[in-house]
């Protein structure tokens, strides 16, 4: 078990592409950190640098108190779970799980004990003598997990381990992985582009965009006070409503002229107003919401439409009576966030 420190880590690929701009953060002992961001933002690159599968162009990486920039992957005391499982196709499940231990000169009796223990933990007992090709996707993913946990490493690395599974299995495995990590207390870095996984599993989330860290924070911080329009629109399903507005004389006005909140004076011009769909109150208020589509989701409903000519979504409980057409809505000032329209940064 260990903490991990990234100090100005940067990655430039051979073709000159800067996949990760200098970034620094620290992962505490036992923490579950999720790296999230859109495809191609450099999540895997960052994770692979930590694993030692990719050279670090610049910066310092420490696991525990040890600087590991030039240490081989096998000697970093890490274990990794890959997106497409990466099991050894010619070895049985038992051999797959025990392979890392065998190469570390663990006595056979101890390997057998640890493999059985891991298999029991992951419900793999019945499959120990099968080859990976004889397993389902979910079972393969469990074997990959088993391979990681028997090693008892200082750090777990996951690169989108659930993205090849169907939705139901993914939910189940998500909970299992999280529970397992709690129980073992191993520091973990988990890469995903699925914001639901990020929200539900993380102790802290790092949001990456174009090789740059947009925000680091707990799921609740990331969700409720996003640092930028990027984070606001990336996290949450449906994402935060972002509406163009005007700020002048200390008041924020929608394009239709409705004043929605007071804002610090000394600033004027276009701003972007953000509010989560579930924070909007429907039925009374100064603003008008033109409902075009009602999406029935069982436990709740999503209302899609426009506010001041811009797309807008409202989340209502299933009891709320709604109909198509204009409705008054209230935008509670406390739930609103203001962003600079040009830079996307929070004001």
């Amino acid at each position: 078990m260990a903490n991990v420190t990234l100090n100005q880590i940067r990655k430039v690929y051979g073709n000159g592409f800067e996949a990760v701009k200098p970034c620094s953060f620290r992962i505490e002992d036992g923490e579950f950190l999720v790296l999230v961001g859109p495809s191609g933002c450099g999540k895997s690159t960052l994770l692979r640098m930590i694993a030692g599968l990719e050279d670090i162009t610049e910066g310092e990486l420490s696991i525990g108190d040890r600087l590991v920039n030039t240490v081989d992957p096998a000697n970093r005391d890490i274990a990794m779970v890959f997106q497409n499982y990466a099991l050894y196709p010619h070895m049985t499940v038992r051999k797959n799980i025990g392979y890392g231990l065998k190469n570390r000169k663990t006595p056979p009796a101890e390997i057998a004990r640890k493999v059985d223990e891991a298999a029991a933990m992951l419900n793999l007992g019945a499959y120990l003598d099968r080859k990976p090709s004889q397993l389902s996707g979910g079972q393969r993913q469990r074997v990959a997990m088993g391979r990681a946990i028997v090693r008892d490493p200082a750090l777990f690395l996951f690169d989108e381990p659930l993205s090849n599974l169907d939705a139901k299995l993914r939910n189940q495995m998500r909970i299992e992985i999280k529970a397992l990590q709690r129980r073992l207390g191993v520091t973990s870095i988990y890469v995903t582009h699925d914001q639901v996984e990020a929200m539900t599993m993380a102790d802290r989330i790092v949001v990456l965009n174009g090789g740059v860290i947009e925000q680091i924070g707990t799921p609740s911080e990331i969700y409720h006070s996003p640092n930028s329009t990027f984070v606001a629109s990336f996290m949450g399903a449906p994402p935060m409503n972002l509406v163009k507005a005007q700020l002048d004389e200390g008041t924020v006005r929608l394009d239709c002229g409705t004043a929605v909140m007071a804002a610090p004076a000394g600033r004027s011009g276009p701003v972007t107003l953000g509010i989560r769909p579930e924070d909007v109150r429907i039925g009374s208020g100064a603003a008008r919401f033109d409902i075009a589509l009602i999406e029935e989701l069982g436990a709740h409903r999503l209302l899609h439409g426009q506010v001041a000519g811009q797309p807008f979504t409202v989340h209502v409980a299933k009891e709320t009576q709604v109909s198509h057409g204009p409705q008054p809505i209230e935008l509670p000032p406390a739930a609103m966030a203001l962003f600079d329209t040009a830079t996307g940064a929070r004001l």
């Binding site: 099991l87 050894y88 010619h90 890392g100 190469n103």
Partner: protein
């Protein structure tokens, strides 16, 4: 695959006819002829033949020349197969680390394969020329006075070297594509699980190359037995003397030079049985599927 149905019963046969006639003309008929001739003793001047039963075969097992050449063929095949596989694997593993993805180099490396066997023999003759061959000079530095076509061992050695040289590119290409088809994540998982590159190779890479390896093994044995004919003929300049020859070459010598049609046919039947055995082995291996998918 889609099953097509023909209305006319004769159409499929008609379509198969060219292929069938070629197979019959160039394979079944000569094979049948060889099988038949191997039980007869032919008059050298073409005046009839006498049935002799197994005599042509028993003659083989008692001929010291045949046994000697059979011994040479075994050693030759094993050396050519073993060396060309081993060297090609070594080169492929080395190339794989630098070539990931660079397909143009692969094509360049393939070129030696395009050299025709007699040409390979000719190049070997130049390299190992008694008076000015660079390879002769090279071995002379170690005090080895190479005498191609004069010394039995030296000639055999040059045959092996030339055959290996010619076969390496094919094996190399197959091994390289075999290596490159190992999923990157599997290698990376091994990189995390095992610090020793040597042990990683033998426990992960090599077993995953096994299907390619078995396939190449059969191909290489067949090559060393049969396809080296042109190369050997060029090295011997059509004049074997006391030099080593492979069994295939001996078939040619006894049949076309010695006019011993019966004996030569018996020899080719023995070789046919050998090929048959190799083919069955290959099919069995394919059937047992040494693939891990």
């Amino acid at each position: 695959m889609k099953r097509a149905a023909f209305d006319n019963r004769w159409l499929p046969i008609l379509l198969l006819l060219p292929q069938l006639s070629i197979i019959c003309l160039f394979f079944y008929w000569p094979a049948w002829q060889a099988l038949r001739s191997s039980f007869f003793l032919q008059d050298p001047f073409g005046f009839g033949e006498t049935f002799v039963g197994w005599a042509n075969y028993t003659r083989l097992w008692t001929s010291s020349e045949y046994l000697k050449n059979a011994g040479f063929t075994a050693i030759f095949s094993l050396s050519v197969t073993g060396l060309s596989l081993a060297i090609a694997l070594l080169l492929a593993v080395k190339a794989d680390t630098v070539l990931r993805g660079a397909k143009t180099y692969r094509t360049l490396l393939m070129w030696v394969y395009a050299v025709a066997p007699p040409m390979a023999g000719f190049i070997a003759l130049i390299l190992f020329n008694q008076r000015w061959g660079p390879m002769t000079d090279f071995f002379a530095m170690f005090g080895w006075d190479l005498q191609v076509r004069l010394d039995y061992f030296d000639t055999g050695f040059v045959m092996v070297v030339a055959s290996v040289w010619k076969q390496i590119p094919v094996n190399f290409i197959f091994f390289l594509s075999g290596l490159q088809s190992i999923p990157r994540a599997v290698r990376e998982a091994a990189l995390i699980d095992n610090a020793s590159g040597f042990s990683r190779f033998w426990t992960v890479t090599f077993p995953l190359l096994a299907p390619t390896g078995f396939f190449l093994l059969i191909i290489n044995i067949t090559y060393s037995l049969f396809d080296t004919f042109g190369l050997i003929d060029t090295i011997l300049r059509n004049n074997p003397g006391d030099n080593p020859v492979t069994l295939v070459y001996q078939v040619y010598l006894d049949g076309f030079r010695g006019q011993d049609i019966g004996g030569s046919s018996a020899q080719s039947v023995v070789l046919m049985v050998l090929v048959l055995a190799l083919t069955i082995m290959q099919f069995r291996l394919v059937e047992r599927r040494i693939h891990y998918t």
